[in-house]
Amino acid sequence: MSSELERLLRDARKALPEPDADTTRRARIRALAAIRRRKRRMGAAALIGTALVVVLALGASLGSVTAPNVTAAQGPSGFGFVPEPGWFALQSGGPIGRGLPAVAIAANVPFARDDDVRGLAETSGLPYSTLLGLPPEGVVIVASVVSPVRPAVPFGESYPERELPLRVRDAVPYIQYGTQVRPEQPLGQYQLRALVRGYNVDLTFYFGTPSPSSAQFAEAQDQLDRLLVGSKPLTEETPATVISGGSPTLTVIDRTYSCTTVLIGGLYQVRSQAQLGQRVGSGWVNLAYAAAGTGSQAGSRTGLLDFAPASSLAWVTAGAPSETTTAGDEFQRFPVSAGGTLGVNRSLCKPSSARVALTTVRLLRRTLESGSETFDCDAPRRVLVRFRATVRASASLRERARIFLATSAPVRDAKLAVRTPTGKLLSYADVTESGEARLFTARTCVSD
């Protein structure tokens, strides 16, 4: 009986009416308008990019204005430098190749244009133009590794086994084949070789002076601490920045990350969004939510994801969730019980010691129409993301769904800010357990 009834019910959906012609016409206009609006934005961005290239080609000396755009490593996937504040990083494309050397370069000065091949390290691995112009206080570190499948040099005394972080003090003065890169104004050149996790690692340190100061060595060490080799990233090894609050039941989680943005449609963008809490009766259907994300991967089979969207850089919620409470906007909701009340994408974000102000200064407050709003902000290839959450429990961030660090503890209030490495604030959002959410973004950000 029941199965017959269920069959009848399923068949009855065929009796649902069709939309009328006028509604269909209006919907078609709105859908195409959404596509055209997006196209105009892409066109405007491309125009700005083209104009910038033309200006550079004409020799305009934009110097430090443009340099930050070529700083970040291309997502250090197994090998690379996570740049220290004030440092710049490049690397060859992709992870460590089988038998092919991979190169990663970090410098405390902007790279010369010749050494930056559309965001990747020049294939020779020697940032020659940068070294020629290296000022006395300048430091450049060049690292190369070879796949363990075909090591260039057998393991042995040439490559003593070492643990990360490597030490600058283990490096020795070194002139490759008796060559000084800049004979007329000699550089300080040092070499360090190590077998790290099965990889032969070659490191060359270039200082702008033949007699580097202890401060320069210390600076080089700080950056060397952020060299990634193999699959062991910085993330969990970094001690949790969990601060005990005044009340024993409250914990403040305050974290800052350096996050890689994803190129999509020719633009590197950060997506900032906020959503008011939605309550039914005494419980939350959807928690107040704020997030920063990048790139695609937003869709899912049903729109209800198992975890937070893979494109999330970080998210915060506020309020006490039930078993079925969700978080996120209508395009991508996830159950808080599975995804977590706050979290960060550990595959796109690495801990950072940079300072990110939780402020709305110079940002515009955005109205959350229909309870939620999303803005796209053009961004460099790396952004700094900070969240500060007051959690109603003792909590820490733990691995979830392999790519996230998250907690399920209910959050009383939380703030989330995103800025560029050069200090431009892109967005700020905050949420409270009363269901409130606010979103502020830079003027240049565009409603999604």
Partner: protein, 179 residues
Amino acid sequence: MRRRPDTELIVLARKGSAEAAEVLFDRYWAHAWRSAYAVTADRALADDAAQEAIHKAFGALHRFDETRPFGPWLKRIAVNRAIDHLRRASRLTRLDETATLHAWSVSQAAEDDLRQWAVTDAVAALGSARRMVIVLHYWLDLSVEEIAGVLGLPVGTVASRLSRALAELRMALEDQRVV
């Protein structure tokens, strides 16, 4: 263009191809509207919700993972918008008293099938809470867990509502000798 798979159309539409977007629209608009109508049982609300859904979905194509099916994604957006509209109109509670057979209209083809007509009317006559779970489960193919997520209810509550709604429908349809 009309034979191209969704994935290609989505990629083209992202690049600004109005033709690809139109094909995608034609392929899924009615589906989205019917989803909204199934939830709201009201043409005006369904019009608004479905239009908003298609506008938002097309505006967010760059955020969509084209390796996933487009239809269910759009349907889910339409359902969410419809529920929001319904809540905004405070109909979730008031429908209990106002739901009538006239809230539903059926297609000409369906008029020939009295059983379908009867079932549709019986669903329309359910209280809003029970009607909603029936619609989401049997017409929009959401699982019990997904319905719980959409409505913000415990899974057990959804399951019991579904069971009671089926029992109520069975009684109504047995009276009419439909089942």
